[in-house]
């Protein structure tokens, strides 16, 4: 199968390169830019005038909700949402029910996902059995089953000695430990950033130090163990400074930010809007601005959707009782573009934060359109606005603070391995 994508603006974030050129795809791989390779005869020509062609997005966190939470979303619905959002590779956190702590569960998920022939699914295994923070998960077995890292998700890991051993063990095999930095005791019971808004609304606070204290401990443990760590979902300015410091010391530390945290802050809670209930909490405008800058400067390595579809009823409760999170797979691209345009960041640089940069963290060769790369491609319309509505979202989760917003960056076509898996 040979495809020519004609008329698009090609963007190769890894080389910070943009060009108006044809893209030639053969046997599931990128064959060439501009000039057709010798003897290339397209079976299909895709007219992509007015569209941008970039590497398919690589999402570091998308909850597919299977097994166990099918009432929130199903693998079918969320895999469709992924490709509708131009996401061609995604890491799924292990906080399913049961959690992904056994090779059999991981193999089943991989097989089910593969049978849908859509985005590539890269599971994260649990760091501890049942996410209980006590016994280590079978990391080597889980890696063989397809796990690309080990994550404690949002479950507390109160016992630092367990974390120390988990990091030692992971370092033995060169596995990456994923942690959402938060001191369990300092955050206990909290639902909103400890600041003016939580004070005014009388919401139980989560102080920024719950995150920075955890990061300091993790950095100390990294130095002691040599483990590679990925920090998931930074939320405050002070965390960015700590990460920069640790990276400057040469520690193998990476981190990401959820795309909502680039745009929203605690003020967006308004009058107890449960759609603004996130983990970690939306912090103050200064924190948000620091996250935006850090992503642009590369201190934060990647942006992810932190896709969390929830059932409508789970948001129709008082703020503190609401299920946290937002649907995100289909909003990742438009919200990255919005960050880029507001911050005056070029298209290639912006898309890098959601393509080759996260791919590097996952250790996958996705996220590039260089000749020879796997043809995972997102074609999108960078100009025409669209309105976020329940009908416009393929995800079963319609929970988003951006409902009703006009955004730009609508995906027109998604290819995985040179095969069209989505057309608008």
């Amino acid at each position: 199968m040979k495809i020519e994508i004609r008329g698009a603006r090609l963007v190769e974030p890894a080389a910070n390169r943009e060009a108006n050129a044809s893209l030639f795809i053969a046997e599931g791989h990128v064959a060439a830019w501009g000039q057709a390779p010798d003897g290339f005869k397209a079976d299909e020509v895709v007219d992509a005038h007015g569209l941008v062609a970039c590497p398919g997005l690589v999402d570091l966190s998308a909850r597919l909700r299977e097994p166990g939470f099918e009432y929130k979303a199903t693998l079918e619905s969320e895999m469709r949402a992924a490709v509708a959002g131009g996401v061609t590779s995604l890491a799924c956190p292990p906080d399913t029910d049961p959690p992904l702590d056994e090779p059999g569960l991981v193999e089943m998920l991989k097989r089910r996902a593969a049978s849908l022939h859509q985005a590539r699914v890269l599971p994260l295994g649990t760091l501890t059995v049942g996410l209980k923070g006590e016994r280590l998960a079978e990391m080597a077995e889980l890696t063989e089953a397809g796990c690309v890292g080990f994550f404690q998700a949002n479950a507390p890991l109160a016992d630092l000695s367990v974390l120390l051993q988990a990091m030692r063990y992971a370092a033995t095999f060169g596995f990456t430990v994923w942690l959402r930095p938060q001191d369990a005791a300092l955050a206990r019971g909290g639902v909103a950033h400890d600041g003016e808004v939580a004070t005014r609304l009388g919401l139980a606070p989560i102080p920024a130090i719950a995150e920075t204290v955890a990061i300091r401990s993790i950095v100390e443990l990294m130095a002691a163990t040599g483990a590679r760590v990925h920090l998931a979902r930074l939320s405050c300015a002070a965390s960015v400074a700590l990460v920069a410091e640790a990276k400057a010391k040469g520690l193998p530390l990476t981190c990401d930010v959820g795309v909502h945290h680039l745009h929203l802050c605690d003020r967006d809670i308004g009058e107890f809007d449960a759609q603004a209930n996130f983990i970690p909490p939306l912090r103050d405008p200064g924190d948000r601005d620091a996250l935006r800058r850090a992503l642009a400067e590369g201190v934060i390595d990647a942006v992810c959707s932190d896709h969390t579809p929830v059932d409508e009823d789970e948001k129709l409760v008082p703020f503190a009782e609401a299920a946290p999170g937002a649907t995100g797979l289909e909003l990742l691209l438009p919200l990255v573009l919005r960050w880029a345009s507001e911050s005056r960041i070029g298209l290639a640089a912006a898309l890098g934060a959601a393509t080759f940069r996260p791919a590097k963290i996952l250790g996958t060769r996705a996220g590039t359109l260089e000749p020879g790369a796997v043809a995972d491609i997102c074609l999108f319309d960078p100009k025409t606005p669209w309105v976020v509505s329940p009908l416009a979202l393929a995800s079963q989760g319609k929970n988003t603070p951006f409902m009703g917003f006009e955004l730009t960056g609508r995906v027109a076509r998604t290819l995985v391995g040179g095969r069209t898996v989505y057309t608008a």
């Binding site: 600041g195 609304l201 919401l203 409760v317």
Partner: protein, 322 residues
């Protein structure tokens, strides 16, 4: 904030959820209306027919006999039918959601819900989902707001001090957990109090409370110096011994109001407390029962203020300025 939810496009009161966002004119309108009801309450026959035929549901997801009773008396003096529901944990433990409970009660033709809930924002959720025409009164939500208490405190201060524009007011004690303090702060700021203080140990003062327009004092004597109004807050039993405070005794020594400390305030300062009081913890009996205490008048005015709020919400009182 709240403008969209508790006020309609014409600025009329649809619900009473918070004192935040209530314009000064609306607060004055409520207090002026309450003035008329104070005289009703002093009459032999303490009843007016303003809300005859209306059904007011006291929906208490968190138990409080005292607050519920004051709403009940207010509604009965307006001739409304009052239905009391102590929901506590019973419905929710049966799996019924908050909104399902409300929809069920709504189907019983309620005209007004008086709601108390342990979660901040629960009355807002209800107000957002009730049928048009049904009013919601927040009778206390989590740490967030207790607007009728805040308003009755404004009524009390106005009664004794006439004008807010020259006052120094101190709110003392557990500000962190206090919905009463938050409601007082918003109302006092809106009414133009120039010097508003909160006083307490750092463990009981919420983060960034200064941004609500108050000055923070950790020293009680400095905090109540030259005050016109000293408002003491209730300290919940469960907070007396733990990580927030070492003991009730130590709290009393530093932040309890006794005659000696009160002498720092102006000689004509009034002392308020939302009740129920912990004598010997936040306030000494000699002060609670003393000449400057207006704690019992607060309770009396509370009935009139709640009558005013209910009548205004039921559309039975001419609009402010009309």
């Amino acid at each position: 904030m709240n403008a969209s939810l508790q006020l309609d496009a014409q600025g009329r009161l649809r619900h009473l959820l918070s004192t935040e966002g209530l314009p000064a004119a609306m607060i004055r309108h409520i207090l002026d209306t309450a003035d008329q009801f104070v005289s009703v309450n002093e009459r032999e026959v303490k009843k007016v027919p303003l809300l005859r035929g209306k059904a007011i549901f006291n929906v208490f997801f968190e138990n409080s006999t005292r607050t519920r009773t004051t709403f009940e008396i207010a509604a009965k003096r307006l001739s409304a039918d009052v239905i009391n529901l102590n929901i506590g944990a019973s419905s929710t433990s049966k799996g019924e959601t908050l909104l399902d409970t409300v929809y069920n009660l709504q189907a019983m033709d309620a005209d007004m819900f008086v709601v108390r809930h342990a979660q901040s924002g629960a009355p807002h959720l209800i107000a957002r989902h009730v049928k048009p025409g049904i009013a919601v009164i927040n009778a206390g939500d989590g740490r967030h707001a207790h607007p009728t208490q805040g308003l009755l405190d404004m009524y009390t201060i106005r009664h004794y001090k006439k004008d807010f524009s020259g006052l120094t007011v101190a709110i003392v004690g557990d500000v962190l957990h206090s919905r009463v303090a938050r409601s007082q702060i918003h109302a006092l700021k809106t009414l133009g109090v120039p010097e508003l203080r909160v006083v307490g140990p750092r463990t009981l003062i919420p983060t960034d409370v200064e941004r609500m327009g108050v000055r923070v004092f950790t020293d009680m004597a400095a905090g109540i110096k030259d005050c016109d109004v000293v408002i003491m807050l209730r300290l919940q039993n469960e907070r007396m011994n733990g990580a927030l405070l070492p003991s009730a005794g130590e709290f009393y020594k530093n932040y309890g109001l006794n005659a000696e400390k009160l002498a720092k305030a102006k000689p004509d300062a009034i002392v308020m407390h939302p009740g129920p009081m912990n004598r010997g913890v936040e306030i000494d009996s000699s002060v609670a029962d003393g000449r400057q205490s207006v704690i019992l008048p607060q309770v009396t005015f509370g009935i009139a203020v709640r009558m005013a709020v209910m009548s205004i919400l039921a559309g039975q009182v001419a609009e402010a300025g009309a």
